[in-house]
């Protein structure tokens, strides 16, 4: 009887986590995978992992960061396994997804192309710098939280971010200079 009540409470807690953070996790997943269906699958997988470890939920201090860390790992796993998509797919997906209010079709296409170019430069960064740069774009994540997600110190996050910006500036001026 007690077990059943406990189980129900844990399931309710997981359902609460879905309501609160599914959107955040989706955005984190999308920033890496850049495909709506893949991002949704990653969110689903992350919550499945949470469900498997639901009995340890009460031990988690910051559930939001914990969840972001889980989805981040899921997403990196998937990215590793996935074949690289052609750049044209990225451009089409970005043109579809990114907000482009008041822009003509031509402007929209050129904006999407610019975004795709920026993202291709991001892809050329070393993994550690790239990850920090991507996570820093999330306004709701402080550098301490990014450090928790990536399992490193805050000072290391700051130095990686500095390096990433320098490299990125170089890449935007002289593309493919890292290769």
């Amino acid at each position: 009887m007690e077990d059943e009540a406990r189980q129900r409470a844990e399931e309710a807690a997981v359902a609460d986590l879905v309501t609160q953070y599914a959107g955040t996790l989706y955005r984190v997943a999308y920033s890496v995978l850049r495909n709506a269906a893949d991002a949704e699958d990653a969110v689903q997988e992350a919550y499945m992992r949470v469900l498997r470890h639901r009995d340890t939920l009460h031990e988690v201090r910051d559930q939001r960061v914990w969840l972001i860390r889980i989805v981040w790992n899921v997403v990196l796993d998937r990215k590793r396994r996935m074949k690289t998509r052609p750049e044209t797919d990225d451009i089409a997906e970005l043109a579809r997804v990114l907000p482009a209010g008041g822009l003509s079709a031509e402007q929209r296409a050129s904006a999407a192309q610019h975004h795709a170019h920026v993202l291709s430069c991001v892809e050329q960064l070393p993994a550690k710098e790239r990850q920090v740069l991507m996570l820093s774009a999330f306004e709701e994540l402080s550098s301490a939280e990014i450090a928790t997600v990536l399992g490193t110190s805050e000072s290391s996050i700051r130095s990686r971010l500095f390096r990433a910006r320098n490299l990125m500036a170089g890449l935007l001026n002289h593309p493919r200079s890292l290769r």
Binding site: V14, V18, L119, S136, E139, G170
Partner: protein, 173 residues
């Protein structure tokens, strides 16, 4: 002047790039995402509950004491293991695996029609000459000449024989 312009350009490009990343980070989640995730979790939960179900004892065999129940469960598990192991041993002891043949059987050689025939010739393998074993030499008879007689010549360091008459007397100098 030139470098400061370049820096400005780089900064502008960088801020544009960061704006792109921020735009992606602000993308809104698709409609109905939460419901779909909830439904997925419910489905997974129901699948897990049907997959992993513990067999309960029949009502007639239920024991009140939890310790006794554990003991009964352990005994039942041990009995199952004993039956399985015993059965396996019986089967393996009855049927011995066939010994693999040591000689390799080759298929009979069939002459191809129209090809060259060996005309009945048989190939005899060239063998090496074996070691020649010499017959044992006959034992030589001991000859009279071969018998060495004791020489009359005395060795150089030989002392002079003591006279028979006066064996105690010292040898003359």
């Amino acid at each position: 002047m030139n470098t400061s312009k370049q820096n400005q350009f780089a900064d502008a490009a960088l801020s544009e790039a960061e704006e792109t990343l921020r735009l992606i980070a602000r993308i809104s989640a698709p409609e109905g995402l939460e419901e779909r995730v909830q439904a997925g979790l419910r489905k997974a939960k129901s699948m897990a509950s049907t997959r992993a179900r513990i067999l309960h004892w029949p009502v007639a065999l239920q024991v009140d004491n939890a310790w006794m129940q554990n003991l009964a469960r352990t005994a039942a598990a041990a009995a199952i293991v004993a039956v399985v192991v015993g059965g396996g041993w019986r089967v393996s002891s009855r049927f011995q695996p066939a010994q693999p043949s040591s000689a390799v059987v080759l298929p009979p050689h069939s002459a191809v029609q129209g090809g060259f025939s060996s005309a009945g010739a048989m190939r005899t393998p060239q063998t090496l000459n074996g070691p020649v074993i010499a017959p044992p030499a006959p034992a030589a008879k001991p000859q009279a000449a071969a018998i060495v007689k004791p020489t009359s010549k005395a060795p150089l360091h030989r002392r002079k024989p003591v006279s028979a008459k006066n064996p105690v007397a010292p040898a003359p100098r």
